[in-house]
Symmetry: C2
Subunit: 342 residues, 2 copies
Amino acid sequence: MQMVEAILAGQRLALARLLTLIENDAPEGWAMLDALYPRTGQAHLIGVTGAPGVGKSSLVNQIARALRHPQDGEPPQTVAIVAVDPTSPFSGGALLGDRVRMRDLSGDPGVFIRSMASRGALGGLAPTTAAVVQVLDAAGFKVILIETVGAGQAEVEIARLAHTTIVVEAPGGGDDIQAIKAGLLEIADLLVINKADRPGADLTERALRSMLELGYPRGHHHPEEWAVATTQPKETWVPPILRTVATEGKGIPEVVRALRAHADYLRASSQWQAREQARLKDILDHMLQAALLARWQAGLPHGFYQEVVQRLLRRELSPHQALEVLLNQMPIPSAENSRLVP
Amino acid sequence: MQMVEAILAGQRLALARLLTLIENDAPEGWAMLDALYPRTGQAHLIGVTGAPGVGKSSLVNQIARALRHPQDGEPPQTVAIVAVDPTSPFSGGALLGDRVRMRDLSGDPGVFIRSMASRGALGGLAPTTAAVVQVLDAAGFKVILIETVGAGQAEVEIARLAHTTIVVEAPGGGDDIQAIKAGLLEIADLLVINKADRPGADLTERALRSMLELGYPRGHHHPEEWAVATTQPKETWVPPILRTVATEGKGIPEVVRALRAHADYLRASSQWQAREQARLKDILDHMLQAALLARWQAGLPHGFYQEVVQRLLRRELSPHQALEVLLNQMPIPSAENSRLVP
């Protein structure tokens, strides 16, 4: 566990190595994560999502900078950035973003940047990202920014790893407002209109505001997912809509203030714990499902599963009937009996 | 099974009722689907996806029309349209699209339209959509168009229900090309640039073409998911890029021809079967995982799972350790023993 101690002592190379082990699903990586796990739970996890081209990387960059060099008397915070690009190899976005970031943030020991440009080995991008975030949390970074493209299968899952989710928009054609945004609005705690110096920012804000009103008709805050909260929040949080021009640093202090306000809200309303609980249960349940399936398959008679799948493909069993047969390890009905309709 | 016979006899009301039962996860719906299942496997399943605002509904509408009234001597085909909107209640897209479609296609007994604006009860939108598609297939519709917004968690899964996936784009800012498209490109069999009379269509086409070249560097066709094919295809399919102005019917015959060509390609290369197999296995595995988890949880000592989750939340167990404890129903390690790092 020398490497664990090196990580806790702040050695970046050891940290980078462990993250690689985790991404490769190496058993020694798991063992080290187990050892580090009691140290987790300190960081504010912030998801940043939105369509490509809205300027997520610049925004993340500027938020990190503002947290490192606060202008309002708050103490500087250590920051880790996890850039997840589930769309590679088609997109070079993650790498490009990194190069820009490197120029701005490199040399600062209080910032650690990691990009994940490939699907992890743990059965999806979300579990791997969760593990990477746990390591960074244990390593002592107080804010972890998780940046992911808001399009694709994994983005909502990844955003749910966070305490606070920022959905980034940019002014665009009126048509596009219904766009990506619909699915993402449900998970937004902060809405940021970046590139707000472009024409159409007012229109975008109006559209977002009216969609928010549709979505929070009676002051409700969160979709059902968070209804696991053991205590009802004392007041509700309505996602603020903020404008930024990240490339010029405009509007960033307001975003940082809103992030702090949301963390305070979560803590005061016990939502912090509720989200943590929902998140950890979710991770555990995903791991459990995969493990139970693997174990159950190992216990089946040789060729049984394949035989049922063949029957399914030959339309002799419906998916529902195939499930029954598999679960109960029933003798496979003959083709004649299962064809209820002649 | 009177309703099953009514459906096979082409009675639309019975069909609509069964679809409602399926969407509500009613046991009698399942039984009827079991009875109908041997009749499935005849339809060409076509997924249509893309960002909102690109004109998916108009395109689907026009494809349905062209299939009903072919100009090239091919026989007319019966068509079902399943419009899936995973983003409701924030968006009224599905309903709006339906109203437009109704005006164009209503009164034609060879067309059946169903919109699904809510998450199904079967553990997600994809399994419910799969079941709805199976019913329509059994009911005898030869082409089933599955339209879904290319943004959100379920879209890729839903597109994978199809034999052929059309990804729809529209000309837009250069920035946006990296957009949604990256994730969707991987699943595209046909790329359609709709609203091609707008400025920027050339740029969009060039961008798509260069992304395709990146993605298919050595003539490869499909991402790993389809590597389950038992036989290698004899030749590869490179997604054609087609231009349409759906509202005016422009370019539609070419899209229909490309759809037929893709179906021929799939059949000739045995990819048709391979995709069917992958799809059905996927549906079955999802149902299995959910069922195994439920069954396993029912067999646990009362409060055991909750206790492990509490330990997880208190950071006394890592997710990985919690998994081990749960799977092996080991005595829960005391907090002292599990804290490997002091």
